[in-house]
Subunit: 280 residues, 2 copies
Amino acid sequence: MPVTEAPRSARQTAPRGGERGAETLFVASLEKGFRVLEAFRNVAGDLGLTEIAERTGLDKSAAQRFTNTLQKLGYLEKDPSSRRYRPAVRLLDFSYTYLHQDRLAETAMARLIEASKVYGTTVNLCELIDTDVIYTVRIPHEKASFPATVPGRRMPAYCTSGGTAIMAFRPAAEAAAIVDASDRVPMTDDTIVERRAVMARITEARELGFGIGVGQAMPNEISIAAPVLNARGEAIAAVQIPVYMPNWTPAEARQKIAPLAMETARSISGILPPEAARSA
Amino acid sequence: MPVTEAPRSARQTAPRGGERGAETLFVASLEKGFRVLEAFRNVAGDLGLTEIAERTGLDKSAAQRFTNTLQKLGYLEKDPSSRRYRPAVRLLDFSYTYLHQDRLAETAMARLIEASKVYGTTVNLCELIDTDVIYTVRIPHEKASFPATVPGRRMPAYCTSGGTAIMAFRPAAEAAAIVDASDRVPMTDDTIVERRAVMARITEARELGFGIGVGQAMPNEISIAAPVLNARGEAIAAVQIPVYMPNWTPAEARQKIAPLAMETARSISGILPPEAARSA
DNA sequence: TCGGCGGTATTATATTGTAATACTTCTTGT
DNA sequence: ACAAGAAGTATTACAATATAATACCGCCGA
């Protein structure tokens, strides 16, 4: 995402603010700083200054300034010999900042751990963000691919059981909007991307009470997820449990894993307030 | 830490830069934005604008601008009725940004999972940051206090087995410096804070090959940690395993948990490059 | 040895962030 | 129920700060 070409407003030295409401309350520098951090999200190795500039759409000077600031603040680390940058441990502070105050994660934690012991499986909690699900709490048991074990990992909602389960228990219009807004590039050979088919999976999840995907996000993976509901009956998260073929068959998973996911999700549900703030 | 009173350089309209090197390359606005985020780190509930201003040392206007920007970017959530702010899920993106590129976490993950199965215990990986250890990878098995299960959690290095284990395998001067720089307020009734005693525990860890703390950071907790070493034999992290009394006794833990922690740590050691960049 | 690429440092300029202030909306105590 | 005050929101004039152009330096490969 090249981000909107900074409009760089027209009139010279003209006191802005008359135009529209509070545009003055937005600190553009802050956004640029975060753009630099985001540039590292889906990157294998370190990044040089030039690469950072390319990926963020900032010019070399800006990349220099923000990169330098981020390093001084301890969020980026600089290899003195290669002069390249990489994310620093300090970024994990934000993980704590979010999670320690999250009532959902707090109440879920014990239940998820219990659930993971039943069949010795991984158990995850995920929430919806834009068109993705983001895994917030992970209780890993088998090592799947490494990135798949990392908290904060995002996956497209439309092709994951977690996303399907959550969308199934949201207003239909919202679910449709998410699917439409999704960039539906197949993750595996079997990923279902066609709109009608995706919507059908959501409907199915609503009827079953859980979502299931076989090889949808990752080959050989059977993923099952059940929605966590608030007091109004709207999904605010999902308990997701992946198992792997050939150790498990889809039939076994439906029979054993689905009830476990649903029971776990149910035990977490309803404790939360009606609906967390939807920011403007 | 109230952060250094923004010096706000003297001379009016004086072109700065002549003074010293690259002060121009530091974007102060970015730091302020992060200050706002940091204000939420050790906070129970939501924060109002005024509270944010107080905690960050920014004035009301600044708090307004940064808070607003952060909300627009999706890192803060605003409760429309109370008008108070809270951290948003999106913060977990940084967790992924850091971890997915961390070779240490990657190689450790499988070993930690295995280790957690041996006695059905929690197993953590932690790294040193300033005077703290920060837990980077957590494989939870029993629910201890919730915050203690959250990745990104920090604890003072001087009174944790992880910190002790790491400092034991660092240059002595560095260890001493960390202990001296630590704000040694007791975490439990039994926390050892006296300099000589703390240093003795570090020496002991060097001799034993592992660090151990009984009720040091939390009552009833026995914490054992073994250092992960790089090719030079310097500690870069620790494998930490907590068990709880009365299920476990210190003697049992030394006999069973310590070898497990050491073996796990050893299996991860040496894979990493000599020393990750020490930023200037 | 040279060429060029990537990173670093410097500085004039005006755009952008700033902070003072007025306005509005909630909260609280009587 | 009302008033007083606290907390949040909006507006604007000002200049300090971020900007970006450019020059410099050092490294790598040819």
